[in-house]
Amino acid sequence: MMNAEKNIQEFINREKQIQPNPFLSTRIMARIETPQVETVSRWKPVVLTVSLLLAVVLGIGIGKSYRPASDTTTGVSINDSDIEGLAYFNMNGDE
C-alpha cells in the first residue's frame, strides 16, 4: 500500500514539474485580441439552419412540381405477319 502511495506521489510530482510554453501568455492574449473565430461560430448554426430549411423547401417544391407522364400517347399495334406475309417472299407466277 505504501509503495502505491509513493508511486502516485512520484507520478504527480513528475506531472507538476512540467512547465508550460514560455509564450503561453502571449498566445492567450493574441487569442483574446482576435475574437473573429467567435463571430464565425455564432453564424455557423444560423447558416446551417437556413441551408437545411432551403433544402427542405426546395425538396417539397420539386416534389410538388412532378407530373406523372400521361397515357395519351397512341400505341400502334403492328402485326408483322400482316405486313410481310410469307407469300410476299414466295412470289412466283402462281399469284
Binding site: A4, N7, F11, S25, I28, M29, I32
Partner: protein, 185 residues
C-alpha cells in the same frame, strides 16, 4: 495591485491589464489542467480555453469570493468538460498511445524492459485517477496537484469541509484498491 483593482481596470476597457492576470495565474491553471489531461499540449490548449472563458465572463465576477477561487471553478469545470469530450474520441487516443509506447520502447536510451514497466505503472496510475468519480477526482487533484487546503477545496467545489474530507478519503481508498495489486508490490 490587487486582483480586484486589475479586474476593475479591465472592465473599464484597459484590455492589456488582462495580461497581468494571465501571467499571475497561468501556472496555477496549467497545473490544474495537466492533472485532468496528463499531457502538456492538451493542458496548454485547455489553459488558453479557460482564460478565454474568464475573459468572456469577467463582468459576471461579483467579488463575493476570491478571484482565484472563481478561476479554479472555471478551470475545474472546463477541464471536466474537456475530459468528457476527449473520452468521445477514445479510439483515436488509443491509437496515439499505441504509437507513443511503440516509439518509447524502440528508443533504446534506457533499458527497454525497465521503461516499459515504468510506462505501465504511470499508465495504471493515470487510469486509476481518471476512473475516480468526478467529485472525488476533483477534490483529489486540487489537493495533490494544486496543494489546496480542505477549506479552499470546499470553497471551489461549493461543499462543506466535511464533505471534502470524505471525498479525499474515498479517493485515496479507491486509488489504493485500484492500484494495490498493480503498483503496490
Amino acid at each position: 495591485m490587487s486582483d480586484q483593482q486589475i479586474i476593475e481596470e479591465i472592465l473599464k476597457g484597459n484590455q492589456t491589464m488582462f495580461r497581468l492576470l494571465v501571467e499571475k495565474y497561468q501556472k496555477m491553471v496549467f497545473v490544474t489542467a495537466i492533472g485532468f489531461v496528463h499531457n502538456k499540449e492538451d493542458a496548454e490548449d485547455l489553459t488558453q480555453e479557460i482564460f478565454v472563458k474568464v475573459w468572456e465572463s469577467l463582468s459576471s465576477f461579483k467579488g463575493d469570493s476570491e478571484f482565484s477561487t472563481w478561476l479554479y471553478r472555471i478551470a475545474v469545470n472546463s477541464s471536466i468538460n474537456s475530459v468528457q469530450k476527449k473520452q468521445q474520441n477514445h479510439f483515436i487516443e488509443l491509437a496515439e498511445e499505441w504509437i507513443q509506447s511503440f516509439f518509447h520502447v524502440e528508443s533504446g536510451e534506457k533499458d527497454s524492459q525497465q521503461l516499459l514497466e515504468a510506462n505501465e505503472t504511470d499508465a495504471a496510475i493515470q487510469k486509476a485517477i481518471d476512473s475516480l468519480p468526478v467529485s472525488q477526482r476533483t477534490a483529489f487533484l486540487l489537493s495533490t496537484y494544486d496543494d489546496l487546503s480542505q477549506k479552499q477545496i470546499a470553497d471551489v467545489m461549493q461543499r462543506s469541509e466535511g464533505a471534502v474530507e470524505q471525498l479525499l478519503q474515498r479517493a485515496k481508498t479507491n486509488l489504493q484498491i485500484k492500484l494495490g495489486s498493480r503498483v503496490g508490490k
